[in-house]
Amino acid sequence: MRFQLTEDQSALRAGVRELLDRRFGREALRAAVDAPGRLDRELWRALGDAGFFALRLPEADGGVGLGLPEAVLVFEEAGRALLPGPLVATHLAAGSVAGAATGETVVAAADGRLVEWLEAADVVRGAVAGAVPLRSVDPLTPLHRIPAPTPGEAAADRRPPDGGETHTAAGSRPAEASAHPGSGADPGAAGGEHAAGASAHPGSGGHPRAAAGGRAAGSARVGGGSARAEAKPRVGEAPGERRQATQPPAGTGTGAVGADGTGNPAPDPVAILLTAAEQLGTAVRVQELAVQHARTREQFGQPVGAFQAVKHLCADLLVRTETARVAVYAAAVTGDAADIAAARLLADEAAVRGARDCLQVHGGMGFTWEADVHLHLKRAWVRARRGGGGTESEELLAARLAA
């Protein structure tokens, strides 16, 4: 056992940090805040060039050939830098959507009844017809809400609470995913080469279905036309064929298949893990910001960080961050769905509570638009809603306990 970063992994992380400092420093961040909804395509291509999206594709397919442990390090840095855009969705599409790997194509994905970056994306996975824009709490994440289905469909799509079978997300490596691109693909849509919906991620309930011998049927129906790739979707366009509730419950338990009633597939555990990695990055960053401020801001003739009430807030920031870190890294190594669920809970906590405490340490400055603290808190809130929210993960872990 050597559960520490290898030299290569440390170098990778340092490299990504350097790239993001250079390409998306504070000025770029604040410029992005001032131009909400605009995605910097040049930056996106630079990320593509750096292998951000193709990281886990096999080298034979033009990818970088690395694994989940490397991916979480990269996403941690993205989170730390508050990098905007549908990073997870595009990364997950790298094996199946043309241009995603290089950063040419921006891919968004429906997640429950929300979809981030819908209008800026070239390709959208999942059924998003009729989606209406929200006034997003996070200036760096435009959001649309997908309309609720008719009551009948919603009820039929509900999943019993304990669906927690063992499932390894390692199975959702793109290499393997490309082996069954059919599931859910609507070859007619979007030029056909965009295997849509769950296709790149058999992890999203794919394995349990396959185990049940239902893949053939699944490929015709699962995500069916609903999980279609739409080139340049126009909001309000006629919906794709909506999946009926014929699909057996997903076994991943990481998200209810269609629990939201949209018919969109359960979130891929890998998506949840990469989100947790981004949350970890936020936790790291808010800890840095809080400690920096505590060391330099003086009151009563001493740095406020010399006051124990402040010092202990900072210590707790570190404890939460380091606990989340090992949970995220270990989940990346094992790929186990329960480890991923644990990582997400710990990382959400570290990010959200961390940002809150960071705000507190900043005093009035923390309540301003000008300080970056609120950007971290808001992004952490957005990410904490992904994949059904923490409740799903708690239920999955409870189910594991009782198994």
Partner: protein
């Protein structure tokens, strides 16, 4: 990042498992927690069994990873806990191993390994708890002896100990960290009075120890005179190192038992309770990973446990209390019945945020040593 074990490590694990399966059924029944002499005999007997099978020195000589495997497997198999051997194996022993002379190592280490002698830790005093360095128990040189007068408190296992790792003040005029000396005091020396203290759980886990002109040979001093603080820090880093590995494994087992009980008594249907259990499962999974992370870190740094132990202890103490508070929710009104499982553990868990450095002190350590925040006044 690699969570897999080498073939040698897996082999060690397999042989240990096999041995445990053979030996555990032959152990005598566990003694009552109130019967100190029986507890001493039982704990020493277990250490003796380990010694004979070649596992006695796993705490000192084995790599941190083998130690992890040892603690994991013994706990999983339900083997006895270190118990009265705790200070000998995890505090005094490692300190003597690191700082003692060859003669001192030869005198004190083998009896600890063989399960023949029990040690206790005489650090805290009535007026020196968190501020340990302000301790006032005095020692004067008189020929080949130190003469010690003062009092210690919260001394676990004092009633059954043969030796006490004792901190005394040898130079009252020096700055407080510079005038302290580390002594090995025989507990049968004249002038020692042990008065048991009852814990809130009703048991007598620790005691007050009064020292009235107790003579301790100068040869029993480990490290130089007035260098005891540094010597002590070696001990404390061991205390916060791998000491809790077995307990994390045990907590995970308790959590699974709580799920079984909740299903049995119907409380599982309460989603709030169910999710609380799910969250605890996340917590203890993470604590296990943190243990592995710290062990790998120690392996890389040559075996010395680092400040990561404070991070672990903070999080773990809190998680353990949350575990048994949740157990109380699972039990419902039965949580008021001392005969029910987990009720006593709930009481014991209250000491975790106090003993071995309170949570507030751990936060000071994390903030000042890891985050480099200015020292408070």
């Amino acid at each position: 990042m690699d969570l897999s074990y080498t073939p040698e490590e897996e082999d060690f694990r397999a042989r240990l498992r096999e041995w445990l399966a053979k030996v555990l059924p032959t152990l005598p029944p566990k003694p009552s927690p109130d019967d100190w002499p029986a507890r001493r005999a039982y704990d020493l007997g277990w250490q003796r069994t380990l010694y004979e099978a070649g596992y006695a020195d796993v705490h000192w000589d084995a790599s941190p990873t083998l130690r992890l495997i040892f603690l994991e497997e013994t706990e999983r198999a339900g083997a006895p806990y270190v118990g009265a051997n705790f200070v000998g194996l995890l505090h005094a022993g490692p300190t003597i191993a690191a700082e003692g002379t060859p003669a001192q190592r030869a005198r004190w280490l083998p009896p600890v390994l063989r399960g023949e002698e029990v040690w206790c830790q005489g650090f805290s005093e009535p007026d020196a708890g968190s501020d340990l360095a302000s301790l006032r128990t005095r020692a004067w040189r008189d020929g080949d002896d130190y003469v010690v007068t003062g009092s210690k408190i919260w001394t676990s296992h004092a009633e059954v100990a043969d030796w006490c790792e004792l901190l005394v003040r040898t130079d009252p005029d020096a700055p407080k960290h510079r005038g302290i000396t580390w002594l090995a005091m025989p507990m049968d020396a004249t002038g020692i009075t042990v008065r048991p203290l009852r814990t809130l759980a009703g048991s007598a886990e620790f005691a007050e120890v009064f020292l009235d002109e107790v003579r301790v040979p100068v040869a029993n001093r480990v490290g130089a005179e007035n260098d005891g603080w540094r010597v002590t820090m070696v001990t404390l880093s061991f205390e916060r190192g791998t000491a809790f590995v077995g307990e994390v494994v045990a907590c995970r087992r308790v959590l699974a038992e709580l799920a079984v009980e909740a299903r049995r008594n119907g409380r599982w249907d309460d989603p709030v309770l169910r999710r609380r259990l799910g969250r605890l499962e996340a917590e203890f999974r993470a604590l296990w990973r943190l243990t592995q992370w710290n062990v790998s870190g120690a392996e890389a740094s040559g075996g010395v446990p680092g400040v990561g132990g404070s991070v672990f202890k903070l999080r773990y103490s809190h998680a353990r209390q949350e575990l048994y508070d949740t157990a109380a929710e699972v039990l419902g009104s039965d949580c008021l019945d001392m005969n029910r499982p987990w009720v006593l553990d709930r009481l014991s868990s209250l000491s975790y945020t106090i003993a071995a450095g309170t949570s507030q002190i751990q936060r000071n350590i994390v903030a000042e040593r890891l985050l480099d925040l200015p020292k408070g006044r």
